[in-house]
Amino acid sequence: MRKYETVVISDPDLQDQTRTELFDKIRNIIARENGIFLNLDEWGSKKMAYEIRKKLRGHYACLTYGGTGDLVKELERNLRLTDDVMKFMTILISDAVTAESLAQELKDAEDAKAAAADAAQAADTTKDTETDPGTQVQESGSDEPAAETVPETAETVTDDKN
């Protein structure tokens, strides 16, 4: 099995629902061809270096998945047929991966995500418990930094002139 990455540039004027349908369709194709879907990274609407289909902006998304060459063939055939997709590019990332290693990778990514969510939640709870002392600290500390920042900015301005 091989690991691939496909960058899909879709129409920027697409409705959110149509776009999610498009990505669901791609995910279904990967599942149908016995591939392992790893990640969908949406970069959002970006300005392109040149016009594609008379459009200056494009909605970028980067899909990572594991599969065989036949999967890529099938996926690219479908992307070519889809009018909402303006351009795409598939890149081979790793030649020798197994289904197990990809499953492990997926699990690790999920664990990392869960850990990050837990950390954020923990930070929130500590904030909640420390509301009273926190506000006090903020109030007492607010005067001093404000006084300090004024001369600092003045210094940087003089530096720039030199």
Partner: protein, 85 residues
């Protein structure tokens, strides 16, 4: 003192040896998804700058040129850029 002086040509001057930026900085990796980093290695017209000018080593120049070409393919970098007026 001209270190690089050779033969009779008196006007030759020693040029500082250029070093590969990717070899010096391990954290700097070549990725087609980051056009900002790649922009340093193309001209305003969009051409790839030869390594005799940038000083990039052969290994990294190969990776760099591939990344630039991939980046062009997905419209992150131009095939032909417009020079500033």
């Amino acid at each position: 003192m001209y270190k690089g002086q050779r033969g009779d040509s008196k006007n030759r001057f020693y040029q500082r040896r250029k070093i590969c930026r990717f070899c010096v900085d391990n954290g700097m990796d070549i990725d087609y998804k980051s056009p900002k980093a790649l922009k340093q290695f193309i001209t305003e017209r969009g051409k790839i700058i030869p390594r005799r000018i940038t000083g990039t080593c052969a290994k990294h120049q190969r990776k760099l040129s591939l990344a630039i070409k991939q980046s062009r393919q997905i419209a992150l970098l131009p095939f032909v850029g417009r020079p500033p007026q």
